[in-house]
Symmetry: C2
Subunit: 728 residues, 2 copies
Amino acid sequence: MRRRLIYALSLCFLVSCTKQMEQENITILTSPDGTIISHITTNSAGEIFYDVILDKKTILLPSRLGFEMRGSIKAEKLDIQKDGNITKSDNKPSYSLYDGFEVIRVDTSSFDEIWTPVWGEESSIRNHYNEVLVHLKKENRLMDIRFRLFDDGLGFRYEFPCCEADQYLCVKEELTQFNMAGDYTVWWIPGDFDTQEYEYTKSRLSEIAENYSSTLRGNSSQTPFSNKGVQTSLQMKSDSGIYVNIHEAALVDFPCMHLLVDCKNHSMRSYLTPDAQGYKGRIQTPFHTPWRTVQVVRSATDQLASRLILNLNEPCALDDVSWIHPVKYMGVWWEMIAGYGSWHYTDDFNSVKLGETDYEKAKPNGRHSANNARVREYIDFASSHGFDALLVEGWNIGWEDWANCNKDYVFDFQTPYPDFDIAALNDYAHSKGIKLVMHHETSSSPRNYERHLEAAYELMNKYGYNVVKSGYVGDILPEGMHHYSQYMVNHYMYCLKEAAKHHIMVNAHEAVRPTGVCRTYPNLIGNESAMGNEYQAFGGIKPGHTAMLPFSRLNGGPMDYTPGIFETDLKSWCGNNSTFGSTLVGQLALYVTMYSPLQMAADTPEHYSKHPEAFQFIKDVPIDWSKSVYLYAEPADYVVIVRKDKQSDDWYLGAVTDEQVRNFNVKCSFLEPGAYYKASIYCDAEDADYFANPQAYYIETRVINREDSLNIRMAPGGGYAASIKKIK
Amino acid sequence: MRRRLIYALSLCFLVSCTKQMEQENITILTSPDGTIISHITTNSAGEIFYDVILDKKTILLPSRLGFEMRGSIKAEKLDIQKDGNITKSDNKPSYSLYDGFEVIRVDTSSFDEIWTPVWGEESSIRNHYNEVLVHLKKENRLMDIRFRLFDDGLGFRYEFPCCEADQYLCVKEELTQFNMAGDYTVWWIPGDFDTQEYEYTKSRLSEIAENYSSTLRGNSSQTPFSNKGVQTSLQMKSDSGIYVNIHEAALVDFPCMHLLVDCKNHSMRSYLTPDAQGYKGRIQTPFHTPWRTVQVVRSATDQLASRLILNLNEPCALDDVSWIHPVKYMGVWWEMIAGYGSWHYTDDFNSVKLGETDYEKAKPNGRHSANNARVREYIDFASSHGFDALLVEGWNIGWEDWANCNKDYVFDFQTPYPDFDIAALNDYAHSKGIKLVMHHETSSSPRNYERHLEAAYELMNKYGYNVVKSGYVGDILPEGMHHYSQYMVNHYMYCLKEAAKHHIMVNAHEAVRPTGVCRTYPNLIGNESAMGNEYQAFGGIKPGHTAMLPFSRLNGGPMDYTPGIFETDLKSWCGNNSTFGSTLVGQLALYVTMYSPLQMAADTPEHYSKHPEAFQFIKDVPIDWSKSVYLYAEPADYVVIVRKDKQSDDWYLGAVTDEQVRNFNVKCSFLEPGAYYKASIYCDAEDADYFANPQAYYIETRVINREDSLNIRMAPGGGYAASIKKIK
């Protein structure tokens, strides 16, 4: 099966390979449909490369694989310096696992199955790939690389079999290369070990460094590492119109991967999130890394339709998933985010020590939103409009003094404020068919959270909560650890598994970005891990952001974007001068375009009451789908998607645009032949504009069938939404 | 009350004060008996000093107090370097809290009470001191220093009131000076952030650096920091015969203190254990540090009688202490330590992943000591000889692959090996009046331990365990944290408090050294935190070690030294060639000289069965006392102590020596007038010697009264023990 192939290598792209060497094929992997080819090659230095070729066009040039490893797993060499100080260092030098390899075996296999997600954009998913497992040896060390080639791209991961030489390993850096075959257009946010809450920049790969500074924006925890660092999922596009996306799948017990770009050579390499010592992965063999993924498709809509990330994750690990279901919810939340109410109960304290500070004697500040009366108003409203649940933030003591203080014992996740009657409010909510959603802001003190986790989950079970929104605002404690370090990746998974034991669904904010782990643990029904709608109240978000997220953040899993803000003029009710970058209809469209099994109607009851007709769409829209059709899309420009309800024959259409007015013609051929549908269409008014006239909309009602077309027009920062209900 | 006093300062001892400045008294503190005086002074630079004068002799010269503080509590300044790398740093410079102070108020008070420990060397303790609280201000920052002067020394601590300027603080270094008034003799072990398991060296203060290298000895976790670094409790002696001891009391939520010696100037300063970032204490105000203590007494026996450390701790925090009691126990332990048996069950695995590795299919190695049959033998023996409890180590899965691997999930603390029937063995033990002692080796993975803590304690409750021996072998995870960092000090306290909720007593090995916290949480019935008897099997311990520990390690609280090895010739039964540094009688004496409410008979049933007469002393000796009399002592040379049983009128005498033969005459005037006592006296034989003839002893039985004297003779590495039972 081996054949000799000589690449015309040039020095410019094989960054770490200083000499032009002959490449010899180890194996050639072909996608099931034959359109993608990946050559796995080696050279006389024993380096291992892969490439990606689509329709005979090279998308990724040969890119080297491997690691730099720490020589020891702990520092134990003591040296007394001249000044008497004692230094401690590793007693063995680091070593390379990117060269000197001998190929000892290649296994090939194929796989094809249809699997059924608990919830999702479609009711069944095909997982179809060809696989090779390349067994490598360097001296007495073993490393395998497993490649899976799908019709929509490549996944590969490193595997370390158990061997006596290297039972435990410590990664100094992963040096996986992604050498692009051109100066691709790229939509990127700065690489950062602690936040993904940035707006996207579009540039050429070669232009990243020069545009970098302007992309930085303050955050309560922020650790960018290089002006050539970017995050995954990273969407690119070649000049010939091929869409390439680099991400990872199944991030479990390993640091999250960033990318470091060589702007000149259009190449990238992995850059893992370090721990407090600067190391990047503590491994006990047998072990495998997460998958590194290169999605390669011919259109932007194909990228949106790709299930490669989910397919590379393990099947569901839970025996019983009957308690997991999509959730549509409201929240005592936006009024605090916008600045009207407060999470904290009193202005008496600027220092709080739980167990010592006496809240019973404190004077309420009169702005505490999570009070019994206000929560009941939300319950009444949510119940009367058919919601499942109501989030209440600021219910528990400690909010007077919590963020970024290096404070270990910030919250106990158990003690309500004096004006939040947890028993009575849950009883009241349940009597109205509403579940309360628990909120656990950890203040990024994971040890404290874990210490209280069991009791907190038991409290949830006691009062009938079945969803928790957890938060990780601020720098991780202990200092030096990051939100995306292995230590924290391990923590998020721990919480998820413990939650599953209690039949609790998790929506983790500020946690590591999703990588499809929700396939294995479908109780992970939401994550934030990107700039969410809340930034509309933190200055504003430029239009186009929600046309970008489906290509990047959503590639790994659903986002709790918290859409549905109707009163986008924040200063009108709470003095907030942010420029809201979306029209009202643009907000409606997000329920379709931003897939999530957890969808919030984020605005207040008062604001929804002013627009009952538009609110009807939020009430109608399903949050679980049997089918999704991606009609039109371009990253950060526009997205037009239509989806079919999992519980009925109804369809829902959503479309968003950036600051440009856009028109699309949608042929309704996705509809069932012979059937008629009542379409309720929510449109930006002719003079609508996210800045000048965001609330101008009209609703059109029509009967349509599959022969019809819908003419979509979207205002600047606007959108389009339609419910298309089958007439029985 | 203020008077002016000018010290004849010389440049040589005021290390950080570069100019000879006039000292002005802030206040003068006098001990209750008037023999110790401490001047609290300041100078024109606003520095604050204290000194210690005993019987008009200066023991401590004026020593400066204060801190260097980090300017920010988190790093948040981002800088893009020329190479594109981004650095993150503090946005404010560090600042001094050791000068520029203004004295804003001085409060004085006195205190005198008798309190009753739950267990101890005596049934009641007097806590008698004079106190001053000096309120200081530097610009808008407040710091107080509280001094307590007892008849046996000084304690002081820093207090940070809550103020808006500094609600949260981060300590860069504590710069408390201890400037000795001479080149004192000092018994020291190397300062180390991770271990106290060293042998002591006697030298002058000026000679520490030159003797340093020879004192280092390998350990599974070891982080010495300077060849001038030493640990507390640090025993010193002036040429005029005054005994000075520096330690700390009530170490809670702060890093453990070491000392950095200026050998030339005979001065020291505090050197706190860093966290992974090199910082040394994260503080939320209001806060106070642990006490820094300077015990100053006229004799070595007075040092042993000092209760200053306990007195500076808070009173008992537990409402119910009925479940706390002293424990005399045996253990399935020494046979593994010596090399005869193994903790692990099988030799099949060199890699274990809990939950994946299948022990049921593994082949037993035939050396696993914690098996049902062997444990029953120990239970039978311990029961028939009146013990309370039996420790069993190696009972739970994971020991094949555990130490120093950077392995997070090392043990689950719940799953027994296939040959350890936890239910049946506990039932059997209870039927014989024996409690099993749980063992939790954490492998220094505190997060993993905390994750399993509640379930592990519940398991203990379920099966009737009421004591846990916890262990912290190996480097702390995450790497960069140390056994004595604030992070771990916090962890040990967390476990102690959680254990109390379950009515579990704790014996923590490799944890931070005790500082009298057992007064507040008397369920802390033991710690290791020094080189224990186990080192007799790790090469051997030089005689004299146990004559040193009462002056250093035991100053903070009891030690689980694990005495009572009768078969000191280890190679005779397990091929271990260590040189055991004690005679058999020397081992007996430790039950009196090394006070602990938790005492082990560490040898095997077989070895005790060969010496039933000597074993009788271990069976007889109480482990709780109403009174202790310290008869003769000199650090590392000899200790002679007699104690009265708390439950009876019986007395017990113990004496140990170093490698010298020693004779003492003990007048029995401590006995009750008119009463007669049966004395059973355990003596080294005339030709006994720890190396050549360790098991040679004889037992003398006499009737004595308070007019009698006992002539104690101890062989090299030997001792002397006596039970003195009142004849009724």
